[in-house]
Symmetry: C2
Subunit: 321 residues, 2 copies
């Protein structure tokens, strides 16, 4: 079998790609371009085709040595057919687009697609924080909360690859509307936008908080990163916001731990960059909420591969059977 596969991480803002050695997880020729999402899917797929050529050139791996391409896609897909079904963060009519087939024509290589959070799960499991662990739950904390499950040494796919949507485990059935259509999902409480909104509310209420200073009074500038910065500087309101978010996440994690007993729970994505500020309330909540499983055997840790986990995992996926 060929040892090199190209991984692509299709994001709403950027498309990232790299050559991945699927034995070691090493990457080379990493390239990134802004996603031309407003120009529609054909334009974006053409961009990916260009990226593939750039990666091949930059990595100095000849195309004949490349086994194929794996694309991590942000949304609901039909893995078996290689089609996108619903990509909430990408405008441009991505309903039922034959992404794998179209990209394969551009790139002249076989293409497989996978949900981006499942790709990150695979990447961390093979080469990062989940290495050697048989059952793993993985969360990507960002604009949405994605997830993935490794169960008994295998990525758990479910129906058409839809299993593992851990951000949509319900934590409060009376909770706020979620982007998915349900109510009170973990994501509705603790996504990046939810954290930013808590910061906006504090500033709009006129509370004394470092968040107000950092955003210079402009609510548009409040991001999870800005709230995190305020928390790092010791601002108690910002710390409370992360405490809240972490507790909601912890409740959802507790349900997954009780049901599935993953030996390791991994957190990646932009919001997880807050590190212990978000991990600490998650751990405390899991400790107090999980009563029927021996918690000593369960670790709650940060992802290790950073923002390349998704493309590494997508490449690894493309290499599987």
């Amino acid at each position: 079998m060929k040892n090199y596969f190209i991984g692509i991480d299709l994001g709403g803002t950027n498309i990232k790609a790299a050559m991945v050695n699927i034995t070691t997880g090493d990457i080379s020729g990493t390239t990134s371009i802004p996603t031309h999402s407003r120009e529609g899917y054909d334009s974006v797929i053409a961009q990916m085709g260009v990226l593939v050529e750039r990666v091949i050139t930059a990595s100095k791996i000849t195309k004949s040595k490349v086994g194929g391409i794996g694309v991590g896609v942000p949304g609901v897909i039909d893995m078996d057919k290689g089609r996108t079904l619903f990509l909430p963060n990408l405008p441009g009519q991505w309903r039922n687009v034959a992404l794998a087939e179209k990209l394969s024509i551009h790139a002249k290589l076989p293409v497989r697609i996978i949900n981006d959070a499942r790709a990150m799960t695979l990447g961390e499991w093979q080469f990062g924080a989940g290495k050697g662990v048989d059952t793993v739950a993985c969360y990507t904390l960002g604009t949405g909360i994605g997830g993935g499950l490794i169960i008994n040494g295998r990525l758990h796919l479910g129906i058409g690859g839809a299993a593992g949507e851990l951000g949509h485990v319900i934590v409060d059935l009376y909770g706020p509307k979620c982007g998915c259509g349900s109510n009170g999902c973990m994501e509705a409480f603790a996504s990046g936008p939810a954290i930013a909104a808590m910061g906006m509310k504090a500033v709009a209420q006129g509370l004394t908080t470092r968040i107000a200073e950092l955003c210079e009074g402009d609510l548009n500038r409040i991001t999870p990163e800005l709230v995190c910065q305020a928390a790092i500087e010791g601002d108690s309101i910002a710390k409370d916001i992360y405490e809240q978010a972490g507790r909601y996440i912890g409740v959802g994690v507790a349900s997954i731990v009780t049901a599935i007993n993953p030996r390791r729970v991994i957190f990646g994505g932009g919001v997880a960059a807050a590190g212990e500020i978000i991990l600490d309330p998650i751990r405390r909540t899991v400790q107090s909420r999980v009563c029927l499983t021996d918690l000593k055997s369960i670790q709650v840790v940060l992802a290790e591969l950073g923002n390349t986990a998704g493309l590494v995992g997508a490449a690894f996926w493309a290499s599987q059977k």
Copy 2:
């Protein structure tokens, strides 16, 4: 390998046992006795030893043809060591009791133990409502709400057999205290006692309801079965109680469906005897709460083996390597 195994279902009220043909799932020599739980575990284990002999006699299968014994245990156990850890419904110091070893000395047969809801899951999967389905979630609705998961054609055990506690998936983080120590678990809202308590409340409030007539004013006589009877007779308060319980259950099921995508969700246990009265609100809630999985491929059904599923599953478990 031997084809006959004895299955035992250890309950707080009765101990049931039967000879199980683990190829066909057929049972014979079924016997049941009241559990002498107040006399302590040694007495109860001696009872099981007596039951084993009775089953062998009644089934007319000679002992040399019997491969072993499987015991379904109501609570937290260490499967690997064959020890009970915490049996909430059995008085008598069952902490860290070497049940498998002790029964094996009585019965002179190898013994394996398994959580009773996981045993029921195995039984229904091999011989009942889950036959031929690769991924199944199973719920036993009774005094507690137990559960079990078949994932990719295999009972998912987790740490020491603790995975599959689906009744303790949280549906409302602000909800009432649960017997497990957490808050707002499905079980805290929708167990048999919770359903009975809703009936008691209606009667105590003096509401006009068939429940009051059926219990003849005695709150002690209100059981889930009595509330169910009132619902069958068309009493709107009783129907509302099952509607409530079914909705809470449905929220927990929705989280499991979103995370794991079981192709079939099976409901057994005393409360599930209400049939469509409880299944209908569960189904409606799952329909409205699961948004990222194709629901057409997921079935919500009743168990088929009745109250022998647990002992059949325990016997099957004993037959596995």
